[in-house]
């Protein structure tokens, strides 16, 4: 086998250590690009682990605080959005909204089911790239109309028929880049709705066609208000990037509500490099945004909706405790619909994924009929059942949120506050300013400096 001795022979026969640089994943990524000749595209969200709400825990009432009865006492969830300028603010039964997702990325049945569920829940749902579906409008008691850079399907009548307007500047999955809908989802109906050739790989613009910067946005928002008689709240949705500056500029531009979409936000299709390597994680973005609103003395006057990876009532409770007025869910609502997808388990496994795995959303081939435009697949999705699953999930999520609030002694979910939490990781403590579990003070840079000075004396740095 070898002439170099027994030791080398054993070494040659052993499995090589896995490379930390050229991991199997990295190698497969290179092979994929070598085959495609372009970047990789997928649906869903990043799979990276980033600082998130799971890095926080609540510290409920014991002797020092009085809890509310967890399963009984009233805990208010009503949420009002758009109180700054709109004469008809949005009133939600609970601080949860359904995020903008397009008819195109999703089937008509899926969009309508979201609207149906939202109406039963007393919350809003949101249109998406491609405009407003009549079925979606009919199903949705509260419908937010997105004004997107592409203006696909934009119609002033739909704008007037909406309950609120959301000017989309970007999204958390890929801030700084427009939407993507591959040709296999640009069916004849979708093509006509978006005024595009059938089967084209639609790459939406990222810049709006008629404004470019924050000063322009101010004029645009005034136009939208004039068009709708100053009745409807105007939201500005942004992907989390330079959050503090962006939030301040959106406030200056006249937003009633800011929708901030963090890194964990998903999408129907995106270059995966953008999913993994752009944006600020949701929790971190929220902290920055709240501070920006405080700096402007606008916290509460301009409402803040946070989105991106919100998966349960705990995430919602922590977001509210950090200062959000509401959370927005997209993926979680879709995943709820996949609760009925077990019947197609075999087909998903043939595709190499489990039901609800967003990595196939861009292909248009979704056996459960949710992220597809194939009529025979869409026909599998039962609207009532899908709506029931979303209704059940959001109801449960609300109960979880209330349970946590009651445990913290709060009769109003919006009364949750940072003091109700502790951080489980050093980085979460430093990001949020919330004390690390087991410590009494937050590990902010200032607090660390104070401790260093306390331990070593004020002259320590100068002595060095």
């Amino acid at each position: 086998m070898t002439t170099n001795g027994n030791g080398d022979a054993r070494a040659a026969a052993a499995r090589p250590r896995p490379s930390q640089i050229w991991s199997q994943q990295a190698v497969e990524d290179i092979w994929a690009k070598a085959t495609l000749g372009r970047y990789r595209i997928q649906g869903g969200a990043t799979r990276r682990r980033v600082p998130n709400f799971d890095d926080l825990t609540f510290v409920p009432c014991t002797l020092s605080r009085l809890p509310l009865e967890g399963y009984r006492e009233r805990c208010e969830t009503r949420t009002v959005l758009g109180t700054r300028y709109a004469s008809k603010p949005i009133v939600l039964d609970r601080p949860i909204t359904i995020a903008g997702m397009s008819y195109g990325a999703l089937s008509k049945t899926a969009k309508t089911a979201l609207g149906t569920a939202a109406t039963r829940l007393g919350i809003s749902t949101t249109t998406g790239d491609g405009g407003m579906l009549p079925e979606e409008r009919a199903a949705s008691h509260l419908l937010v109309y997105q004004v997107l850079p592409s203006r696909y399907g934009f119609d002033p009548d739909d704008l007037k028929a909406a309950d609120a307007i959301e000017v989309v500047v970007g999204q958390g999955a890929k801030p700084g880049t427009g939407g993507l809908l591959l040709g296999n989802k640009v069916s004849p109906v979708i093509a006509e709705q978006r005024t595009l050739p059938q089967g084209v790989d639609q790459r939406s613009p990222v810049r709006h066609p008629d404004f470019v910067g924050p000063d322009d946005l101010q004029i645009k928002i005034e136009e939208l208000r004039e068009a709708t008689n100053w009745e409807k709240p105007v939201y500005v949705k942004m992907g989390a990037s330079r959050v503090a500056d962006d939030v301040k500029l959106a406030v200056k531009a006249g937003a009633d509500v800011i929708v901030l979409d963090g890194l964990e936000g998903a999408t129907g299709a995106s270059p995966d490099i953008l999913l993994d390597h752009t944006a600020i994680p949701t929790m971190c973005a929220l902290v920055e945004a709240v501070q920006a609103l405080k700096d402007l003395r606008m916290l509460g006057e301009v409402q803040l909706i946070i989105s991106g990876g919100i998966k349960n009532g705990a995430d919602a409770a922590k977001a509210l405790a950090l200062g959000a007025d509401a959370v927005s869910i997209g993926t979680a609502a879709l995943l709820a619909m996949y609760a009925g997808a077990d019947a197609y388990l075999g087909e998903y496994h043939q595709l190499g994924v489990e039901p609800g795995d967003g990595t196939i959303w861009h292909t248009g081939h979704d056996p459960a009929g949710i992220a597809t435009q194939e009529p025979e697949l869409e026909a599998r999705l039962d609207l009532d059942s899908a709506a029931d699953h979303v209704f059940n999930f959001v109801s449960a999520m609300t109960m979880e949120l209330q349970m946590l609030a009651r445990a913290c002694g709060k009769a109003e979910v919006h009364d949750l506050e940072p003091e109700d939490m502790r951080a489980l990781t050093l980085e979460a403590s430093m990001i949020t300013g919330i004390p690390l579990a087991g410590m009494d003070t937050a590990l902010t840079p200032d607090a660390i400096a104070e401790r260093v000075v306390a331990l070593l004396g004020k002259d320590f740095l100068s002595r060095r």
């Binding site: 495609l36 000749g37 089967g199 790989d201 790459r203 008629d210 404004f211 005034e222 136009e223």
Partner: protein
């Protein structure tokens, strides 16, 4: 603000003088006159380049601006016939569904952005991104247009009597651009094609309503090369630029 009431048979054009009015008051007055009082023509005096005038009105009536207007004049127009005697800012007639907007002056950037129907005429020059993302309708600019005119155009027709700056027709999906003057450069996947009889007929129809002095035979035709419609590994240089 005073309530405006107009008899159904006016015999004259009601006038809204912007001098002492806010934008909100101007738009309310125009809507009151057209949508409620049934005026078929309204004259707007002293608009003073105010933004967002006459937006999202759905009616068949004449609206005349006697002076320059700011951004988004007649934005989201649906049926109005609008005349601007002066220059206008960005986004005139943006997202228009139907109707007609004529600017007897120069227009800023994003003229007729994303319109789905109707026609826009600019007697002077138009700025950058004229006809960007048009989804239908007609834009006629007697003068020259700025860079990236027709960017990501989807449908409709742009007619340019003068020259075009860099990137004409960049990333067009569909639609047609006719240009009589010089082109500084074509955008990604924009290609020149031969003018045929149908084009001449289309140009005649586009130019006839306006006194441009332009002849259809002067024009060249630009359309999409359709190479950006779908991802392709066979044209890496084009995709490097386009993406």
């Amino acid at each position: 603000m005073a309530q405006l009431t107009v008899p159904s048979d006016l015999g004259f054009s009601p006038v809204v003088d912007c001098s002492e009015l806010t934008t909100r008051e101007i738009n309310l007055a125009v809507r009151e006159l057209i949508e409620k009082a049934g005026a078929t023509e309204v004259v707007i005096r002293n608009p003073a380049a105010r933004h967002n005038l006459g937006v999202a009105i759905k009616a068949e009536a004449e609206l005349r601006f006697e002076g320059p207007v700011g951004w988004y004049a007649a934005g989201m127009n649906c049926g109005l016939s609008v005349t601007v005697r002066g220059n206008c800012g960005w986004g005139v007639a943006e997202c228009m569904m139907s109707g007609r907007v004529a600017v007897y002056g120069h227009a800023g950037s994003s003229t007729a952005a994303s319109i789905r129907g109707g026609s826009v005429y600019v007697d002077g020059d138009a700025g950058a991104r004229a006809g960007i993302a048009m989804k239908g309708g007609l834009l006629v600019v007697r003068g020259s247009v700025g860079y990236m005119t027709g960017f990501m155009m989807q449908r409709g027709t742009i007619v340019v009597g003068g020259d075009a700056a860099d990137g004409l027709g960049d990333s067009m999906y569909e639609g047609t651009i006719y240009i009589a003057g010089e082109i500084e450069s074509l955008g990604a996947d924009a290609v020149e094609k031969d003018l045929n009889d149908d084009d001449v007929a289309a140009l005649c129809a586009a130019l006839t309503p306006w006194d441009t002095g332009l002849e259809p035979k002067q024009f060249r035709k630009i359309e999409s090369g359709r190479k950006l419609w779908n991802f392709s590994a066979h044209e890496p240089e084009m995709w490097k630029v386009a993406l």
